[in-house]
């Protein structure tokens, strides 16, 4: 996951300008895709463009290696605190998946 930073603020999306110093130059760094479920919802009533995949989970993931969160979609049901990681990019969306339990033990 690429993180854009300026003035001690991290974000997964590159803003047009840093709200603090107005610079459009952001420091870029690669961090692990791994994260922890911060919160989630299962969307049953979807807008027209997502109606065919409803119900689906939208999960807010707190990245482990940055002070940033990423809004993802997941097929599996999750609880707050679950360990998750990047699966694939699909039509501009981050699709995440659970980290298997045995891997979490390491």
């Amino acid at each position: 996951m690429k993180i854009y930073s300026c003035c001690e603020k991290d974000s997964i999306s590159k803003r047009f300008y840093c709200p603090e110093c107005r610079s459009s130059e952001f420091a870029e760094k690669e961090v692990s895709d791994d994260g922890t479920v911060y919160s989630y919802t299962k969307i049953h009533i979807a807008p027209a463009e997502f109606a065919d995949i409803a119900p689906y989970n939208v999960v807010l993931v707190d990245l482990d290696e940055a002070n940033a969160k990423v809004t993802t979609r997941m097929e599996e049901d999750v609880e707050i605190g679950d360990k998750v990681t990047f699966d694939r990019l699909e039509k501009g969306a981050y699709i995440y998946k659970k980290v298997p339990e045995r891997v979490q033990l390491h």
């Binding site: 299962k42 807008p47 463009e49």
Partner: protein, 377 residues
């Protein structure tokens, strides 16, 4: 500084209505102008969100000026998602404060029930930043508040039952309001077992699609009800960049500004209309506006403090959840209910003769918030 006073109010029935967007708008405007004693109107502001996308109808300002025969006066449509009405009201107030206008007609209207739910959900999604990966992930407008609610439960002792208590309170209030969308009583059991919209928010936790309009006439000429403060702020437009998911800073900041302008605090407010687009939103807003401590709004619900007979009555109209939420009209429907409370003839009239009333109108997932404080003088 020029003070602003409320002279007339008008509101249609809210619900599934036969009338067109234009008919609803004109009905509310005509009632407000008559209620004000048919004064000369110097300008019109109309709050509306999806007239263009769902009804293929814009130029609502000019339609009002022309159909009501108000003359060659300036008129403006105002868009700020669900805060369109509150922002239009504020634009009218600013027009009077500037000295440019003596008397202004402000209206809000929306026609939604003729369109399909997926199409309306899609249109409402335009109230989020649609260029982001989170929109591509399928985050919806209600979904944002579902994510917020699950985290709120995690960090507090709150549960789905507290959300249900908000929905039940607002339904009980709405049942007594003849203009409200939902006239039927319900129960905690029915609310808790209703179908899920976006977990943990069920059908009763979400404001409905609604047709309706409301209007207010304001003037620099004195009346028994003054606008004591008007504030508006913009807030974050993306969930993933929120510094604190359990805070909607636009609400808190607009409240703080309004209290400062009015020279009073949350403890002075007698009656409140809050933007309960979702049951969760009402709880967060009561915290942001300083009525209850942060992360303790759910306790106030449990103790019944926000009921009509509580110490801080919230949404005596039924709120968005039961009065209904015709998007552009909501901010003015809040003013309508508070004026009735201050006049002493409201649905669910408070016995204590309220003197200070507060309306808070939210747009987007915290992108806009307006606060207005009214005073019986």
């Amino acid at each position: 500084m020029t003070s602003t006073y409320i002279h007339g109010i008008g509101m249609t029935k809210f619900g599934r209505l036969e009338s067109s967007l234009k008919e609803l708008l004109l009905e509310a405007c005509n009632e407000a102008v008559k209620d004000a004693g048919n004064p000369k109107i110097d300008a019109v502001f109309v709050g509306n969100f999806m007239g263009g996308s769902i009804s293929n109808q814009e130029i609502l300002g000019a339609i009002v000026a022309n159909e009501l025969g108000l003359g060659y006066i300036p008129s403006t449509k105002v868009e700020g998602a669900c805060a369109s009405g509150g922002i239009a009201f504020r634009q009218g107030i600013l027009g009077i404060m500037s000295g440019e206008y003596d008397t202004v007609l402000v209206a809000g209207a929306e026609k939604m029930k003729h369109a399909s739910t997926p199409d309306v959900t899609q249109a409402i999604n335009s109230a989020m930043d649609t260029t982001t990966t989170e929109k591509m992930a399928g985050l919806t407008f209600p979904g944002f508040f579902g994510v917020l609610a699950n985290r709120y439960f995690y960090e507090t002792g709150a549960s789905k039952e507290h959300l249900a208590r908000v929905a039940l309170k607002n339904r009980e209030n709405g049942v007594n309001n003849p203009l409200a969308q939902f006239p039927k009583h319900t129960s905690l059991e029915e609310i808790l077992s209703a179908r899920m919209i976006t977990d943990p928010l069920g059908l009763f936790d979400c404001s409905p699609m609604t047709d309706g309009a409301a209007a207010v006439v304001i003037s620099k000429k004195k009346s028994p009800i003054a606008v004591k403060a008007s504030s508006q702020v913009s807030g974050p437009t993306k969930m993933q960049d929120a510094i604190d998911l359990l805070s909607i800073p636009a609400i808190g900041e607009s409240g703080r500004l309004a209290y400062e302008k009015a020279g009073l605090g949350p403890e002075d407010i007698d009656v409140v209309e809050i933007h309960d687009c979702f049951s969760m939103t009402e709880i967060i807003a009561t915290e942001e506006l300083g009525f209850f401590n942060r992360l303790e709004g759910w306790k106030a619900v449990e103790e019944g403090r926000t009921k009509v007979d509580g110490d801080k009555p919230v949404n005596t109209s039924g709120g968005l959840l039961s009065r209904g939420h015709p998007i552009g009209a909501t901010g003015l429907a809040q003013i309508y209910q508070l004026v009735r409370q201050l006049r002493g003839n409201a649905a669910n009239q408070l016995a204590k003769n309220p003197r200070l009333a507060l309306a808070q109108n939210l747009g987007g997932t915290g992108s806009y918030s307006t606060v207005h404080i009214l005073e019986r003088v």
